[in-house]
Amino acid sequence: MDSLILELKEEIIKSLNLEEMTPEDIDSDAPLFGEGLGLDSIDALELIVLMERNYGIKLANASEGKSIFQSVRVMAEYISKNRTK
């Protein structure tokens, strides 16, 4: 799980252009939206694309993301259970 969490942090930094950040700056349990990383609605869409492109997970609707994108750890757990690639 730890390696997937690290991989996910690196992907998030790359996909969301968080150039000033390193994986160490992202708390695995901190909220991704709001007070945590402070991501916005476009970032949420980009995360949905990331899930499909990298792990073959297709979210039926954007509202599903609300529970899945709670934190990097929650995301990693969902990916490890549902990935097809």
């Binding site: 252009n17 968080l18 150039e19 000033e20 476009i42 694309v49 492109r53």
Partner: protein, 213 residues
């Protein structure tokens, strides 16, 4: 026609950044990202910068310098201020990037983050958000840089009935690593200005950044 006065001028070319005629930065290497190099060279702190496309990045950088000595912070609302920009390539630089995310049918992942910048006028919005500018924002596509057209747009932009007294106006163009920016902060107030706004002055500032062959 009310007289207008230039208070700040920013010129960005492929390899130089100038503010009020002073050379601030020179590009260090052709293979570097020039907008990112300028951002770091100016020691700015605005994480959203990295999410912007190149057109927004260079417009944002020019506005940071042009607004530097405006006398109030970016956090202060500016109801009497406008942002009016022009260029010739619209958002084509970013449109190409977006097209690349949908070019391969077997690897078809349209990027929402790239898509949101496929409009030239996003740069006026980014600048207005950053500096809390509440007046008019417009972006015009023209065949080529023309001081006379810039003057026409400036004339339209000062709207006494809406109380518009100041504006950022200029040419902000970026395509495939070619950067051509000339941004003015102008006002109807002559106090502390650099010069009166005339077509000749606009032309002179533009030519100041043209690379001699």
């Amino acid at each position: 026609m009310e007289k207008k006065y230039i208070h700040s001028v920013v010129r960005i070319t492929n390899n130089q950044l100038m503010h009020n005629g002073e050379l601030l930065l020179t590009r260090s290497a052709e293979d570097s990202s020039w907008p990112v190099e300028m951002y770091r060279g100016l020691h700015l702190q605005y994480p959203k910068f990295f999410k912007m496309d190149n057109l927004c990045k260079v417009g944002f950088l020019a506005a940071e310098l042009a607004m530097k000595d405006v006398g109030v912070s970016p956090e202060t609302e500016k109801p009497d201020f406008s942002v009016l920009l022009l260029n010739s390539t619209s958002s084509l630089d970013n449109d190409i990037s977006y097209q690349q995310t949908i070019a391969d049918e077997t690897n078809y992942f349209p990027s929402p983050a790239v898509f949101v910048y496929t409009l030239a006028n996003i740069v006026t919005g980014e600048i207005a958000i950053r500096h809390k500018i509440k007046g008019e924002t417009s972006f015009y596509i023209q065949e080529k840089f023309s001081p006379a057209t810039l003057s026409d747009v400036a004339e339209l932009g000062f709207m006494p009935h809406k109380g518009i007294r100041e504006m950022l106006i200029g040419w902000v163009d970026f395509l495939e690593d070619k950067c051509d920016v000339l941004l003015f902060r102008i006002s109807v107030n002559p106090e502390n200005s650099i010069s009166e706004w005339t077509d000749e002055e606009v032309s002179r500032w533009y030519e100041a950044g043209v690379q001699k062959k």
